[in-house]
Amino acid sequence: MRAGDGPTKNVADREVSEYVVDTPLRAPAPGLFEVGRRPRFGHYLVEAWRRRSFAFTLAGYRLVGGLLQNRLGVLWIVLKPLFTAVIYGTIFGAVLSDDARPDDWVPYLITGVFIFEYFTGCFTGGSRAITGNAKLVQSLGFPRILLPVSVVAEQAMRIVPIMLLLGILLLVFGIPISWSWLWVIPILAMMSVFNLGVALIVGRMSVWVRDVQQFIPTINRVLFYASAIFFQVDKVFADNPVMLTIAHLVPTYDFIALVRGAMLVAHPAPALAVVAAPIWTLLAIGIGVVYFWRAEARYGLSE
């Protein structure tokens, strides 16, 4: 097998050399390929898919490992967003007058907060996916895309108990359970893909410009206020169609609105959000994967 020529060897020697070549330039001898080049796009994705269990295992270990050091352990997955919701609920409940509040004030708020936390987790985690795992990147040769994937997978594992909690809370606050709640699953799956795209983009950016990580809390804050978590854009911008359209196009708002539309009867999702969310998802994942892949060979260089 080995004594043969290059191409057949590469095909046959699947175990080792699949994750390798980009451009077979002028090799100085048959059977040699260039090291340190990014693999071809298709190969890259195939290889990443083959090693996907690495990403998921890493995500699981990270999730458990990060929580087990605390006394309350896994309970924190649920406690943290709960506290956030309580705080926002009290503060904004005290600040906002009754008529400024949306109907079903508490369910409206906690749905928004929980879904938004999912995005923030992926966004922040994605920015550290490569830089926080520099040792791993420099010592093992696996498709780097698996690191952002594991970040999103970890956050997705977190969101499952949170969504269960949300369902219970909604029932407590008197929202009727219905079949439309099942829509949450595809919506969150779509949101995961969107989050992955964003994590990929921000993951690569923060490798080259570390400042991105400093800027992310600001972006989060802006998005928090732009995503209509504690107010209703339709009310606020009722007389300003331009602003209303812009507000409806904010991607995080779209996903939050979709989930609200599925779970809260009183707040159907605007048509624009239904259209915009898949478009945002496709854009994010498409740009993200290609953008991330283009720097594949260079992630090891970061300090």
């Binding site: 046959a12 295992t57 795992n133």
Partner: protein
């Protein structure tokens, strides 16, 4: 696994048949440059906060050339040692060869993805050793079932006993090294790079892992080992590369290169002076552009102590010369790849003489120095071109940085403008809409009055109107 044993058979067959061994790795003029966010000089606390540098983000534009044009070819069935003092670029070379760090210039060719086995291979510190084993195996491409099957073997080999369930951050360096070695050696690789992986283990484990390495080498096509233990290299390798200041200073059979290296290590002051002393002493493999070398070379000449070293030098080549010449025959093959690639592989020898007219005693000494015939190291005629390329790269980087800065500034401005615009629109719409439901009248009245007052000629009537209200 099947493919690996096939490889092994093919390799052995080739060796047995006496065929010319197939090249497994061709490193052609590889450069690696690290970017480091550091000033590179000592700074007081105040400097580091208030300097212009810090304002620009503290990026003193430090590009550290870790490798500067290394060229060699390694063939199957070889075991090659790599020596050099700390920070000379050995580990960088290995990382570049394994594809973890892309060469900034030049190319590295390999017949298979080389696998690096290093001390630095920290996995995830928070996780237990067992989980790290699983992760490492999965990252190396094992399926979950295979990984699960191997975990116990690896844990046994690492002999960590109950510590295998403790988080890896609690491990001692030796324990960590054991575990990493056990993980990395779990799979048979056809190109194996061992980077000081055994340095920290205890004696018992070292023996065990050397045994493991021998097994791996027998099945692998090529093994390269970085080690500071000269004696173990002499035992295990037939060929040794000497990396110095990021350049290949010598490449030859183990004995002569190691002798050369140990002699260099023992020379007084060599370790401390580093670049300067070598620029003066042996054939300079490193680029003479180093800022320290022009300054230090006259110093050394004045002190005249190196003179004695130089005079003591002639015996060296005599010892090493035969070995070198016999090796030269073997090495003739190697430059041909470089010639194929660059077409100028053989020039450096000639040009290096021309380039150092600074020290008078060199021309007499140069031809006799042993390191010279041991393949082509520094490729000195390319130095100028290389420096030119570095400068160009630096300029490019600067330009890119400025562009990035401009874009950032523009983005911030746009963001601020957008925010202001949104706020403005919000304010306007609010004043237009909010009063609408109930409180129209009380607010509208003074509004109208003011408007009247403005439009009316500035007479007493306007004032009167206001007063009236």
């Amino acid at each position: 696994m099947a493919s690996v044993s096939d490889l092994e058979l093919a390799g052995m067959a080739a060796r047995a048949a006496g065929r010319a061994p197939r090249p497994m790795i061709v490193v052609d003029d590889a450069h690696v440059t690290y970017r480091v966010y550091a000033s590179g000089k000592r700074m007081s606390a105040r400097d580091s906060v208030f300097s212009l540098n810090a304002l620009r983000g503290g990026r003193g534009l430090k590009t550290v050339p870790a490798l500067r044009g290394v060229t060699f070819t390694a063939s199957e069935g070889e075991s090659i040692g790599v020596i050099g003092h700390n920070g000379s670029g050995k580990s960088t070379l290995f990382r570049a060869m394994s594809g973890l760090i892309p060469p900034s210039e030049g190319t590295i060719w390999a017949a298979d993805r080389p696998v690096l086995l290093g001390v630095n291979a920290a996995l995830v510190p928070e996780l237990s050793g067992e989980n790290n084993i699983k992760l490492g195996l999965l990252a190396m491409g094992f399926t979950p079932e295979e990984a699960a099957a191997h975990i116990d073997d690896i844990a046994d080999f690492a002999e960590l006993n109950e510590f295998i369930h403790h988080p890896m951050r609690t491990y001692s360096s030796g324990m960590g090294a054991r575990l990493r070695f056990a993980i990395a050696s779990a799979k048979a690789h056809s190109i194996l790079l061992v980077d000081e992986a055994l340095a920290v283990g205890d004696r018992r484990f070292r023996l065990k892992s050397e045994q493991r390495i021998r097994e791996l080498r027998d099945s692998a096509g090529l093994v390269m080992i970085v080690s500071h233990s000269v004696s173990s290299l002499r035992d295990t390798c037939e060929r040794v590369l000497w990396i110095h200041k990021g350049e290949l200073r010598a490449d030859g059979d183990a004995k002569s290169v190691i002798d050369e290296y140990t002699r260099w290590v023992k020379q007084p002051g060599q370790g401390a002076v580093g670049a300067a002393s070598t620029a003066k002493g042996k054939r300079p493999a490193m680029s003479p552009a180093k800022s320290s070398s022009p300054r230090k070379a006259p110093d050394a000449a004045r002190i005249a102590e190196p003179e004695s070293v130089v005079r003591a030098a002639p015996p060296e080549p005599i010892v090493a010369a035969p070995a070198v010449r016999e090796h030269d025959v073997q090495q003739v093959r190697l430059p041909t790849f470089d010639q194929l690639l660059s077409g100028e592989a053989m020039q450096p020898v000639v040009a290096s003489d021309r380039k150092h007219p600074r020290t008078k005693q060199r021309p007499a000494r140069e031809p006799s120095v042993a390191t010279r015939p041991i393949t082509l190291p520094g490729a000195s005629p390319r130095d100028a071109a290389r420096r030119e390329r570095y400068l160009r790269a630096t300029r490019d980087r600067n330009r890119r940085r400025i562009i990035a800065l401009a874009i950032t500034g523009a983005a911030i401005l746009i963001a601020v403008a957008a925010g202001a615009a949104i706020a403005l629109v919000g304010v306007l719409t609010h004043t237009a809409t909010l009063p609408a439901p109930g409180s129209m009248l009380p607010e509208a009245a003074p509004f109208a009055v003011v408007q009247v007052a403005e439009t009316a000629p500035l007479t007493g009537s306007g004032v009167l109107l206001l007063n009236d209200d």
